[in-house]
């Protein structure tokens, strides 16, 4: 059986360039970057070059990049830091959205317990927030606006530059969780008015367990641990040079090939969307089509449940993902789909297909061929679908 891996928003396969960079570090540049001898200095050079590459991809300065263990740590760090700066000035209000990743949401929930007030902006039914919403929500006490660049489930891209401008005008810090966007859409932190940004290596064909926080010069950044002098004393501990080098190599490649990849991947995306929506009744695309990640396809199919859909697809070799309740261990389906205003019944039947440049036309065709069969199979055994069809025929008779 062939494998069609279309869960690239969860994680990606590593590209050859990243693997090569990592292996080189492990076999030759194995030194500690803090050591003065030449083996240590070789590692220090790799570290510096990796930081420079990441900075270049964001149009940031090399001194504005702090390596972390991934997106989660970068999100926690940025938000905690802004909260700390805020509370020094008795500013304890934060603005975010209802459909952030849990790395952001759960950090905010924790801050609420500690006395912060958080405004969660409502998301439109096609998955966007507006700069006006942000402007209207900012108060004198607001110390941070944190809004994701692109949503991990439905792929919608927020008007980051305009939101950043509102924050600049009002003198409020702006952080964006760009984990799903970096390497996939053009990002320029200077031009887009971004103060802090989180990224993660494994979302663009780099390794897992490594990421970075961009923190604009002039913003005081607190250390998260005590220890050595690494990461300008802010994040001590001997650097994971192979991971950093792998991430930097992957990002460099992703950014160099961004236009080409984005055009190709979005053509696969549109092919799948246009191949499924007209042929499967009562299917919907979650999230608007215009400002959308090149690789994101997010469907809801009425009358079926996402986990069984996911697993039947897996039996055909197709690896996707679902925001259904039963995969998360709670009875509630994905908070992202609920934030769009979808009823529970429909949100349970979600499927996310997330593509990369490693996917082929043939794979897209295979999905378009097999997905409707699986949906039909599940609908044939669904009492919910039976009811929907009964109501439809009764309404039709009237």
């Amino acid at each position: 059986m062939k494998t069609v891996y279309v869960d690239n928003a969860a994680t990606t396969a590593m590209c050859d360039e990243a693997v090569k960079a990592m292996v080189e570090c492990m076999s030759s540049a194995y030194g500690n970057a803090s050591s003065l001898h030449h083996i240590g200095q070789e590692a220090a050079e790799v570290l510096f070059a990796a930081r420079q590459d990441v900075a270049d991809c964001l149009n940031a300065d090399v001194n504005e990049i702090y390596f972390t263990s991934g997106g989660t740590e970068a999100d926690n760090w940025a938000i905690r830091n802004a909260a700390r700066l805020g509370s020094r000035k008795n500013k304890n209000h934060i603005i975010s959205t209802a459909f952030e990743h849990h790395a952001v949401l759960h950090t905010l929930k924790k801050l609420e317990k500690e006395g912060f007030e958080v405004t969660y902006l409502e998301v439109s039914e096609d998955g966007y927030v507006t700069p006006e919403q942000v402007r209207n929500a900012i108060k004198d006490e607001t110390c941070l606006v944190t809004i994701m660049y692109a949503n991990n489930e439905i792929g919608t891209i927020q008007p980051v530059k305009e939101i950043g401008q509102v924050c600049r005008d009002k003198g409020v810090l702006f952080h964006t969780d760009a984990v799903q966007a970096v390497g996939h859409v053009k990002i320029d932190v200077a031009e887009q008015n971004i103060d802090m940004l989180s990224l993660s290596g494994h979302k663009f064909h780099g390794p897992k367990g490594v990421g970075a926080l961009y923190c604009k010069k002039g913003i005081s950044l607190m250390g998260i641990m005590q220890g050595g002098a690494q990461e300008k004393n802010k994040r001590p501990g001997t650097e994971n040079i192979p991971a950093l080098a792998g991430m930097a190599a992957a990002l460099k490649k992703a950014c160099a090939e961004l236009d080409k990849n984005s055009a190709y991947i979005s053509s696969l995306r549109d092919k799948i969307i246009d191949g499924i929506l007209p042929t499967v009744p009562r299917a919907r695309l979650n999230g608007g089509r215009d400002a959308r990640l090149p690789g994101n396809v997010s469907f809801c199919f009425e009358g079926i449940e996402g986990e069984s859909l996911l697993l039947y697809l897996d039996l055909k070799g197709i690896c996707g993902s679902s925001g259904s309740a039963c995969t998360s261990g709670s009875l509630d389906p994905s908070h992202v789909l609920l934030a769009l205003g979808l009823p529970h019944e429909i949100a349970h039947g979600s499927l996310r297909i997330s593509l990369s440049e490693f996917n082929t036309e043939e794979e897209a065709d295979y999905i378009i061929e097999e997905l409707p069969k699986v949906v039909n199979r599940l609908r044939d055994m669904s009492p919910v679908w039976e009811r929907i069809m009964k109501e439809e025929s009764e309404n039709g008779l009237q």
Partner: protein, 145 residues
């Protein structure tokens, strides 16, 4: 979280899948809000469950537990089928991940609801000790929230 081979087998090849036009008892439990709904059809002859079919909206463990539950009660006396516990279904499937146990409760309840329907249709009083006050419709049921 991984499913046992048995669960995957019943999920891939559900036993007794389908509907029944001339069922003697039909039970439907769960609601779409919480993500799992099971509907069980019973054919009953001389107090014995001679045939059973099911339809399920839900996750893989909901489908597998429906399938296994129908296997366990097929050919049984109605009174014996009433004793079916979700624990027995889970054991017959070689276990379920802890987060999925709630999905198996529905199978036990669906069987009970179908038998309750059969009893009601035949003028047999429902023993509250067995059937409790559950009407079968789970809209207001605690565990579905």
């Amino acid at each position: 979280m991984a499913y046992s081979k048995k669960v995957m087998d019943h999920f891939e090849n559900p036993r007794n899948l389908g509907k029944m036009d001339d069922a003697d008892g039909v039970g439907e439990v769960g609601n779409a809000k919480c993500g799992d709904i099971m509907k069980i059809y019973l054919k009953i002859n001389d107090g014995i469950i001679s045939d059973v079919k099911f339809n399920t909206f839900g996750c893989a463990s909901a489908i597998a537990t429906s399938s296994m539950a129908t296997e366990l009660i097929k050919g049984q006396k109605v009174e014996d089928a009433l004793e079916l516990s979700n624990k027995a279904v889970v054991e017959a499937l070689d276990g379920l991940p802890p987060a999925k146990i709630h999905c198996s409760v529905l199978a036990e309840e669906a069987v009970k609801a179908a038998i309750a329907d059969y009893y009601t249709k035949n003028g047999i009083e429902l023993d509250p000790a067995i059937f409790g006050s559950c009407s079968g419709g789970c809209e207001n049921c605690d565990h579905c929230g």
